[in-house]
């Protein structure tokens, strides 16, 4: 069994066994507590620049399948697991995880105390790290980790976005959320809306869910100016998730600012942060981010709780301590009118969602498209559809 090391910028060293592609990699080390969905996580472009630690001890149990990707490739810089299953078992499996990682040239490590690593990241904060199969000297490793570029202020979006606009037509098919469809929102045949989706590192499930909701979707590169979008005459605009620091993509903030008020906007994750910045709010880096499929978020308008899928390192903050109004929502005045904080994290009370009261804008910090994770927030796609419907009328 080939040895490997994981070292952190603060000098912490873990020894383990080599996993995946033989080599060396650097990135910001984060942990994800989801118990399923490692393939969706690996292929989520938001992980660009990061090494992912899975807290669930057995990973790779059900192998990988081409159906469960969230983008065209793996974006994570490295993968850390307690134990990678040598033999996958699932009727859906096409390949073993370790082979997938090797083919995708992703360097990983297994057999280390991932819980100790997670506790360390929780207490010390996420930080740059290195996995190496080829140079097991920890001192050199720490040095490389320290000097590796961090994610703050960096434009990682340009590395993951598409180069050309394209149409997206696939829906969720058999995997459509059951709570959706039939019950609350009868699905109407045909494409009711035209939507432009900004690809800041978009997860394909956002696109599938838009199609499920009756949208004809055009995906555009992150650098697309607002005017180009306007000439496409969509009914609404989706701002996708994406990697890194929202302040690293000023051109996107600019575009968003020019689109607010023009057509309904639905922001997700990085898209939500860009909206916040465009409206004059700030963002900040969380100590170790939210990377999970079990985070409770309360909708302050209904006081109901949804279990959400999350993956972000930054969050939006309101200018100063804004007191909630009688409805429980904190209200912020922006150049675009009143902005209500609609969702909060029950774990740390960070902002998880916003609604503009004077513009058709809605955004959430978490992932209503799930994949991986619970489908509790599927309703947001319908809210976006209603917004587009109302805007038409």
């Amino acid at each position: 069994m080939k040895k490997a090391i994981l070292v952190l910028a603060d000098g912490t060293v873990f020894e383990g066994r080599a996993l995946g592609f033989e080599g060396e990699t650097v990135g910001e080390v984060v942990f994800n507590t989801a118990m399923t969905g490692y393939q969706e996580i690996l292929t989520d472009p938001s992980y660009k620049g990061q090494i992912i630690t899975m807290t669930c001890p057995h990973i790779g149990n059900y192998g990988v399948t081409h159906e469960d990707v969230e983008s065209r490739r793996i974006w994570a810089e490295g993968f850390v697991v307690k134990e990678s299953s040598r033999r996958p078992s699932s009727w859906r499996s096409e390949q073993a995880l370790h082979d997938y990682l090797r083919e995708s040239r992703v360097v990983g490590i297994e057999g280390l105390d991932t819980r100790a690593l997670t506790r360390h990241l929780r207490d010390a904060g996420s930080q740059q790290g290195l996995i190496s199969h080829v140079d097991l000297d920890p001192r050199r490793g720490v040095e490389k980790a320290r000097t590796a570029p961090g994610i703050v202020g960096r434009d990682l979006v340009s590395e993951v976005t598409c180069s050309q606009p394209y149409e997206w037509t696939d829906g969720s098919g058999v995997w459509a959320p059951e709570a959706d469809g039939g019950s609350s929102e009868p699905s109407r045949a045909g494409r009711r809306f035209r939507v432009v989706a900004y690809d800041f590192g978009i997860k394909q499930n956002i696109l599938r869910r838009l199609v499920d909701t009756g949208c004809a979707v055009t995906v555009v590169p992150a650098s697309t100016p607002a005017d180009s979008v306007k000439t496409m005459q969509p009914d609404g605009v989706v701002l996708s998730n994406g990697p890194g620091d929202p302040e690293g993509v000023p051109y996107a903030i600019e575009a968003v600012r020019n689109l607010i008020g023009w057509r309904p906007i639905f922001g997700i994750c990085l898209g939500h942060q860009l909206l916040g910045l465009a409206m004059g709010l700030g963002t900040y880096k969380l100590k170790f981010g939210h990377h999970a499929a079990n985070h409770p978020v309360i909708d302050l308008r209904t006081r109901t709780v949804g279990i959400t899928s999350q993956n972000h390192n930054f969050a939006v903050r309101t200018p100063d301590a804004t007191a909630p109004d009688s409805t429980g929502q904190a209200m912020v005045k922006t150049p675009f009118g009143r902005l209500a904080i609609s969702h909060l994290s029950l774990n740390d009370e960070s902002i998880e969602g916003m609604v503009c009261l004077d513009q058709p804008v809605l955004s959430v910090q978490y992932h209503p498209e799930a994949s991986p994770g619970p489908h509790d927030s599927a309703y947001l796609f319908h809210q976006f559809a209603r917004m587009m419907e109302t805007n038409h009328a």
Binding site: H58, K82, E83, R86, W91, N294, I307, H375
Partner: protein, 1100 residues
């Protein structure tokens, strides 16, 4: 929404006695619910007939009724207490069925009692098989094709349509009782008849079998705002076809992709909404086709369950506690997560370890029972283990079971490779055939098949166990052979241990460390490498002194995979770099629990352990609990200060001692499990609190005990000891038959038997030697017709208080755990009671008991004989505590910490103005074809208590509580052995006086008629028809009195008792039992049922 203020008092119904399918988990959930509701300021009224529960401790509720859990009694409770609401979801199927009964009878509406937690409608929709199926159709979910039936004809029509194999599932039963798999028409007819009989509403569902599909369970919580969370997905290693209670189960689910899991989660959310469980928890079972992913819903329990207890322990999310709070109006986001303190209960736990639960069976207790595992639960207990991988958790679970297995040791002598001269193909064929049907040893057979070269793919086809699990086992088997090879290359041929040479001591420490990481116990490593367990331990210690970090570490169960800090020291061991135990430097005491429930060691011992923890807390001493039974209150993280969820083996316990350095360890409360560890722990320098290990040995060791009795001048039945058949025959002849024979050091009368002649003795020796190879067989004179007495006493070393003297109803020879008993004695004379007290005190003083002591005596011909003394907490401690209103285990713990009885204010047992009767409850109904006769081998799984002003009513209540109420009128059939005829005459006369009609088999009838009793003769089964069993089948009989002597007459009459059992008829198999039943009926016919709470009994 904050708590409801429109209700102030809540009635909670417990699940009654421990039976297969309903065990301590409902004490765990009920206790949590009581505490949660009290904490909220509600007046809590509790009904449960099981005295061994923590929930029936008088402090836990405002009013505690230890009365039969029946609709009639609940009506009286409601009438007396006028609760505003009834919470029926904490007491298993029993409480749920009662709630349905009350709703149907209009009692709830009459007294304005609101059902909270689950409405009558929701319960009906979930439990009535047909209604559930329709509900699933409405929300677009599939269920296996099926049809319901109320008659055999209807059932036949359904199976015509769906084909074989078919599953028969009775409505409204627990633990799959009466459920079965039929592969052909003949089996089907038998199962349908049985199923219809077992369903309280006479309805079954005949269902297309999905045997071999993967099986999953989700624990779901919902609040009034319609927030829903899934606490934990559990996957069964044993696929569909084996009851989940009998399956090895794993958390989290291991083989589902996120897409599949989310589809299942969506389904669960829709189900709980459709069924309408609006507050609280539910358990939903799914089956998934392994090759197509097809998902079907199997069933839903709209209440907390065994699985929810498991999920709570597996994740740290206290389902019952939260469910109780949701039931009174809170929403999930208003309740906090106790473990992280900073987060809310509205979340889904995520775990960074693997939990494996394994069932524990007791087939050895029921000769003739079929050990094939099927849809009806047959296990009597379970152990849970936590590890960082499935492999580690599985191996820990195996040794937690305490079945003398410390890993996947071969059942076919293959540990050292295939033995010379053995035929691999022949062995493989044998193992393959053993794997055709599921049974308790399946996982060991799987390992053996791998040792014989059978592939994972073939095993998956044979067993339908998912290849992922099989491959994990394969990794362990491969590692074992690597280890064996390494050891033998160093000169230790494992198959021939006597030839080992010291060279193997240089075995690579990294390899050993890897073994520990895979969960191997030192015992198993010793088997595989020839290195003694003590040596392995010493090496690890030396290693860690050199800073090699190869020692055991402890991690915390924290609900969140370390995302937030855990404030509750709920720990499990593993072998990894970082240890999170953070021991304190407080004065602390470690309590060893009882491990998995088994016959002879169950909830009673957990009750004592919990009281020990409470007592220590009151004394300001930190408590450390060690146990591995997920059903229990002792493993609730807030019972003790620190909880180690660990196997109770010498190795695992010593590891914790090394980490925690307690001032002492308590072994006298957890039953035989910790007691067995007393000497090894003491030898390792651990202080055993209370009675010394030497005193324990003095009571357990036959020779030393005999000397003790001689010294005290106490009488004991003649006895001897034998190590061979010849010696046994010699001793028995000397003593004189009948004799009682048993192996030494056993619990629950394992392999104990009364033999009447030498051939019987020779037969017995063959099986007894198997039961306990290293200990001799003990032979005692059997005292026929003696009255047996159980005594619980407490001593501080200076003073002994006899807390309770219980007179058994069945004669000596029936295991004390199986016998009904009365406190105070109901036939003994005052002089004899005094003598019992005197001898008990003398024994406790001489042994130097500090803590509890249990003594058993027999009274015969005016003489008192000492049968045995156990210087530890006994099975009857909770019963006596409830009967006399004194928490004995708590006092005992304080005594062990140095308090005197005087200081504690307990110098004399109170004089009772009431009578308490304990009755045992048996699992016979679960084992088709097993005889119900009682003997020296314990067979009961649980107990109930009846309490009233006189013996008759207390006994009648105990029978009703045990589920077989005595009749008030009707026809009694008697068939007794010659020896019992005089006693039967008295019983018959009294029955006639009460207005019963009598019939009797020829001999008995003749005797009664000769003595002037009106009785109709009836044929024995062997005498032509119509016979006695026909009468029972036709429902003409309301009580059976049947005693038998010889083995041939036992066989002849077995069908009588079996039929009575099947019909749910009360039956007496001993004359004292029949006499007590008559006294019960006399009392019941004299005056109606009245009930009183424990608080009233003990404060009047």
């Amino acid at each position: 929404m904050p708590r409801r203020t429109d209700i102030t008092s809540i009635l909670l119904i417990g699940s009654g006695p421990i039976v297969i399918g309903q065990a301590c988990e409902f004490d765990y959930s009920g206790t949590q619910a009581c505490k949660a509701l009290k904490e909220e300021g509600y007046r809590v009224i509790l009904l449960n007939s099981n005295p061994a529960t923590i929930m029936t401790d008088p402090e836990l509720a405002d009013r505690t009724y230890l009365e039969p859990v029946t609709v009639e009694v609940v009506e009286q409770v409601i009438e007396r207490e006028r609760p505003d609401a009834l919470l029926p979801t904490m007491g298993g199927q029993t409480a749920l069925n009662i709630a349905v009964g009350l709703a149907q009878r209009g009692t709830l509406s009459k007294f304005g009692v609101e059902l909270i937690g689950a409405s009558a409608d929701a319960i009906h929709k979930a439990e009535a098989r047909e209604a559930f199926k329709h509900a699933m159709e409405r929300i677009g979910l599939k269920t296996p094709e099926s049809g319901s039936a109320r008659t055999r004809e209807e059932a036949a029509r359904v199976v015509e349509r769906i084909g074989f194999p078919a599953i028969v599932r009775p409505s409204f039963t627990l633990g799959g009782t009466g459920g079965n798999i039929a592969y052909n028409r003949e089996e089907f007819e038998r199962h349908v008849e049985w199923g219809l009989a077992m369903s309280p509403v006479g309805e079954i569902l005949v269902e297309r079998s999905v045997i071999g599909w993967k099986e999953f369970e989700l624990e779901v919580m919902r609040d009034l705002k319609d927030n829903v969370v899934i606490v934990c997905p559990i996957e069964n290693v044993d696929p569909m076809g084996v009851h989940t209670g009998d399956s090895i189960t794993v958390a989290p689910a291991m083989t589902l992709t996120d897409k599949e899991y989310q589809a299942m989660r969506d389904a669960a959310v829709r189900i709980i909404r459709e069924i309408g469980v609006d507050t609280g928890g539910s358990n939903i079972q799914f089956a998934v086709h392994p090759e197509t992913g097809d998902l079907v819903v199997i069933e839903m329990n709209p209440r907390v369950s065994r699985s929810s207890a498991l999920a709570s322990k597996a994740t740290g999310f206290p389902i019952a506690k939260i469910a109780a709070k949701l039931a009174v109006g809170y929403t999930l986001d208003e309740l906090s997560n106790d473990i992280t303190r900073v987060t809310k209960a509205a979340f889904e736990p995520t775990i960074d370890y693997v939990v494996v639960k394994m069932p524990r069976f007791a087939f050895e207790k029921f000769p003739g029972a079929d050990p094939t595992l099927t849809t009806q639960m047959k296990s009597v207990g379970e152990a849970m283990a936590v590890g960082r991988t499935f492999k580690e958790a599985l191996q820990k679970a195996i040794r937690s079971l305490e079945v003398d297995r410390f890993g996947l040791g071969s059942l076919h002598g293959l540990d050292g490779g295939i033995p010379p001269g053995a035929n691999r193909d022949e062995l493989a064929a044998r193992v393959r055939s053993a794997l055709q049907t599921p049974h308790p040893d399946r996982v060991w057979h799987v390992a053996d098949a791998m040792r014989l070269g059978v592939s994972v793919a073939e095993l998956a086809a044979l067993t339908k166990i998912d290849p992922w699990f099989l491959d994990q086992i394969h990794e362990l088997v491969e590692f074992e052979s690597r280890l064996g090879a390494a050891a033998s290359s160093l000169g230790a041929p494992v198959a021939f241990p006597e030839q080992r040479v010291p060279g193997h001591l240089s075995l690579d420490p990294d390899l050993l460390w890897e073994a520990k990481r895979l969960g191997f116990s030192d015992e198993r490593l010793a088997q595989l490498t020839g290195i003694e367990t003590g040596e392995l331990r010493r090496r690890r210690a030396a290693d860690s002194l050199q800073g090699a970090m190869r020692g055991v570490t402890y991690k915390r169960v924290d609900t969140c995979a370390a995302e937030f800090e855990a404030h509750t020291p709920y720990l499990y061991s593993t072998y990894e770099g970082q240890c999170e135990s953070r021991p304190t430097d407080r004065r602390k005491v470690m309590i060893l629990g009882g491990g998995p429930n088994r016959i002879g060691q169950g909830i009673e011992f957990d009750y004592c352990c919990v009281h020990a923890a409470f007592a220590l807390r009151e004394e300001g001493i930190e408590t450390i609990m060690v146990n591995c039974n997920p059903e229990t209150v002792s493993t609730d993280y807030d019972t003790s200060d620190r909880l180690y969820f660990e196997p109770l083996t010498e190795e695992d316990v010593l590891n914790i001692v090394d980490r925690e350095h307690p001032i002492g360890v308590v072994v006298q409360f957890g039953g035989q499990t910790p007691l067995k560890l007393a000497l090894p722990l003491a030898r390792a320098g651990v202080k055993i609190l209370g009675t010394s290990p030497d005193a324990i040995d003095r009571a357990e060791d036959r020779e030393r005990f005999r000397a003790l009795l001689v010294q005290l001048g106490l009488r004991q039945p003649a006895s001897g000891m034998a190590r061979s058949v010849e010696e046994a025959a010699r001793v028995a002849t000397q003593i004189g038959y009948p004799v009682m024979v048993r192996p030494s050091y056993v619990l629950g009368g394992r392999a104990m038997q009364i033999v009447f002649h030498e051939p019987g003795l020779v037969d017995y020796m063959a099986s007894a030697v198997k039961a306990s190879p290293h200990h001799p067989v003990l032979i005692d004179k059997y005292l026929e017709d003696a009255i047996e007495i159980d005594v619980d006493a407490i001593s501080d070393g200076r003073q002994v208080v006899v807390a309770g003297i219980m007179e058994h109803i069945e004669e000596a020879g029936v295991h004390s755990g199986d016998s009904a008993c009365s406190l105070p004695p109901y036939t003994l004379e005052e002089g004899m009671v005094g003598e019992i007290r005197r001898q008990t005190v003398a024994l406790a003083m001489e042994l130097g008991v500090v803590g509890l002591m249990n003594a058993q005596f027999a009274v015969r011909g005016g003489h008192l004989y000492v049968l045995e003394v156990n210087p530890r907490g006994s099975r009857t401690v909770p019963f006596v505590s409830k009967a006399i209103g004194v928490p004995l285990a708590k006092l005992a713990m304080k005594v062990m910490m140095g308090k005197t009885l005087e200081a504690l204010g307990f110098t004399e047992a109170p004089t009772l103005r009431h009578v308490a009767v304990k009755e045992a409850v048996f699992p016979f109904a679960k084992f088709a074809g097993v005889d119900v006769l009682l003997g020296p081998e314990m067979k009961s799984t649980g107990e109930v208590m009846g309490i009233d002003d006189d013996f008759g009513w207390a006994f009648a209540k105990s029978q009703a509580a045990a589920g077989v109420p005595l009749p008030c009128a009707g026809r009694v059939v008697l068939s007794v052995k010659d020896h019992d005829k005089p006693a039967a005459l008295e019983v018959a006369r009294r029955l006639r006086r009460l207005g019963f009609l009598l019939e009797a088999t020829r001999g008995t009838a003749a005797y009664l008629q000769r003595n002037g009793v009106e009785v109709e003769p009836v044929n024995k089964v062997t005498e032509g028809r119509p016979h006695i069993v026909d009468h029972i089948k036709n429902g003409e009989i309301s009580l059976v009195v049947n005693t038998v002597g010889s083995e041939s007459s036992q066989a002849d009459s077995a069908s009588i008792r079996r039929e009575a059992l099947q019909k749910g008829l009360p039956y007496c198999t001993t004359m004292p039992g029949a006499r007590a039943a008559v006294m019960g009926m006399e009392a019941a016919l004299r005056k109606g049922l009245t009930i009183r709470s424990l608080q009233e009994y003990h404060h009047s």
